[in-house]
């Protein structure tokens, strides 16, 4: 199911601790619900978010939806490959489909998120 080393939000984002920096993307479930992704609007490097702030937009053939930052922080990198190839999110939501990287993250916020077991259970109850 969902990778064990990630944390998950109820809005179907994932976060990976990359040793001080935190990488964010959307989950396989979210990508599947959206279907073929056709456009991704990413934040700017240097932009700051509080937890659950609107940070990006993902458009698919069917719909457009917001991505909320699962933890607060400052954007230090974005996945520019998504500009030309938004379908990378469908192909590998946990790898090449990552969206942005945050620093200045409150570790307590990160730990408050669901682990893979809790997220799998959360999905089953939807």
């Amino acid at each position: 199911m969902n990778p064990k080393h990630l944390k998950y939000s109820e809005n179907h984002e994932w976060v990976r601790d990359d040793g001080g920096a935190y990488v964010v993307g959307i989950t396989e479930y979210a990508a599947e619900q959206l279907g073929d992704i056709t456009y991704v609007e990413l934040p700017q490097v240097g932009e700051g978010f509080a937890q659950d702030d609107e940070a990006a937009t993902v458009e698919s053939v069917k719909a457009a939806s917001e991505v909320y930052s699962p933890v607060g922080g400052t954007v230090v990198a974005i996945n520019e490959a998504l500009d030309e190839h938004p379908e990378l999110i469908n192909k590998g939501p946990y790898e090449q489909g990552w969206m942005f990287k945050l620093e200045d993250v409150d570790v307590a916020e990160f730990h408050s998120l669901m682990d893979a077991t809790a997220y799998d259970k959360f999905l089953k109850e939807l």
């Binding site: 279907g35 073929d36 056709t38 456009y39 458009e59 053939v61 069917k62 457009a64 379908e87």
Partner: protein
């Protein structure tokens, strides 16, 4: 919920299902963009059994039908198809339909699933039309390789069919109707087949190389790229046929019950017209988005999506006639997405007339 004879076969092929006007239909099989591109390059099969089919018999019935639609039906030649709309007395669109002259005496009318019951009542009352929908399935074969596929499966009679013509033929000893046309902009055929033969025919077509099933998702992006309307979303009774941008199809020499009203509307020239809009990147206008001109609300988007074959966001919106000329700059939606008005179709390389 209503199910087509192909429902179980769709499930077996892993289709994601959706509800469409009370029907359980496939939304997608392998993915919308994949199915879309496959239709533009090879050949796709669409289950359209939710649509309605009616048979009008005799000159009297055809004349009565003509009084409700905006173009000539009596002179429609045997073997030809014609696009038209059934109108209310104020020119509102009760349904947009394809009519097919099967013989001197018979007019076959293909309707949308949405308004089917109302259309059924109207056609019965006005023209004593026979509703064949419960007995017929409809399979659309669409794509540049569709003629090859039809010939491989043994439909030899279809070879001479030109764009928007129709013939009667047989498959496994059952009488069927095949027309050349469709809703994708590609070379294609619509097969009207008795329900009992729908599954064997569908399987036989899909067993061939290059053929793949496609769902309503791809059907929607394909038709949008061609600027074709979706009934119930882009056109309905609240829009006249002029507003729907069908003015060029109206036969003003024909006498139909909405003619006076439409002439008046045309003369006044103050109405909103369905207009193509496109973005300059992959962002897309969306159904329901408000349209703004110089910051003021002027209309609404009725369809919008990323167009996989045009590589940008495209849509249809109702805007005042004076803003509908190509090249007008508008914004849509809560994020002021910039769009430009353009002529239909968005996609110009379709093989439908090949």
């Amino acid at each position: 919920m209503r199910y087509t004879p192909l429902y179980k076969d769709h499930l077996g092929r892993g289709a994601k299902m959706m509800t469409f006007h009370g029907w359980c239909m496939p939304l997608q099989f392998s993915g919308i963009i994949n199915e879309h591109l496959h239709t533009r390059s090879k050949v796709s099969l669409f289950d359209c059994s939710h649509m309605g089919e009616f048979l009008l018999k005799g000159a009297k019935a055809i004349r009565a039908f003509e009084s409700m639609v905006f173009n000539d039906m009596i002179c429609l030649k045997v073997g030809r198809c014609r696009y038209t709309s059934i109108l209310d007395v104020c020119g509102g669109i009760i349904d947009d339909v394809i009519t097919m002259r099967l013989s001197e005496d018979e007019l076959f009318v293909v309707t949308n699933s949405g308004p089917c019951e109302r259309v059924s009542r109207t056609l019965y009352r006005v023209c004593m039309a026979q509703d064949l929908s419960p007995t017929l399935s409809k399979i659309d074969v669409q794509g540049p390789l569709s003629r090859d596929l039809m010939l491989k499966v043994g439909f030899r009679d279809i070879e001479p069919l030109k764009y928007f013509t129709v013939c009667r033929t047989r498959w496994r000893d059952a009488g069927i109707v095949v027309s050349r046309g469709g809703y994708t902009g590609e070379l294609g055929y619509e097969i009207f087949v008795p329900n009992a033969l729908a599954v064997p025919l569908w399987k036989e077509l899909l067993a061939r190389e290059d053929a793949a099933p496609a769902g309503l998702g791809a059907r929607d992006t394909l038709r949008l790229e061609m600027g074709y309307t979706l009934y119930g979303q882009d056109v309905d009774e609240s829009h006249t046929t002029l507003e729907a941008g069908m003015g060029r199809f109206i036969d003003w020499d024909s006498d139909f019950h909405a003619k006076e009203f439409l002439l008046m509307q045309r003369q006044m020239g103050r109405y909103k017209i369905r207009t193509g809009i496109q973005t300059c990147d992959r962002r897309a206008p969306r159904t329901g988005h408000e349209v703004f001109y110089e910051g003021k609300p002027v209309g609404v988007v009725t369809s919008g999506s990323f167009g996989p074959s045009v590589g940008r966001g495209i849509g249809m919106a109702y805007v005042p006639l004076e803003l509908s000329a190509p090249g007008t700059r508008l914004t849509v939606g809560p994020k002021d997405l910039e769009v430009e008005t353009v002529e239909f179709p968005f996609y110009k390389n379709g093989s439908c007339r090949a």
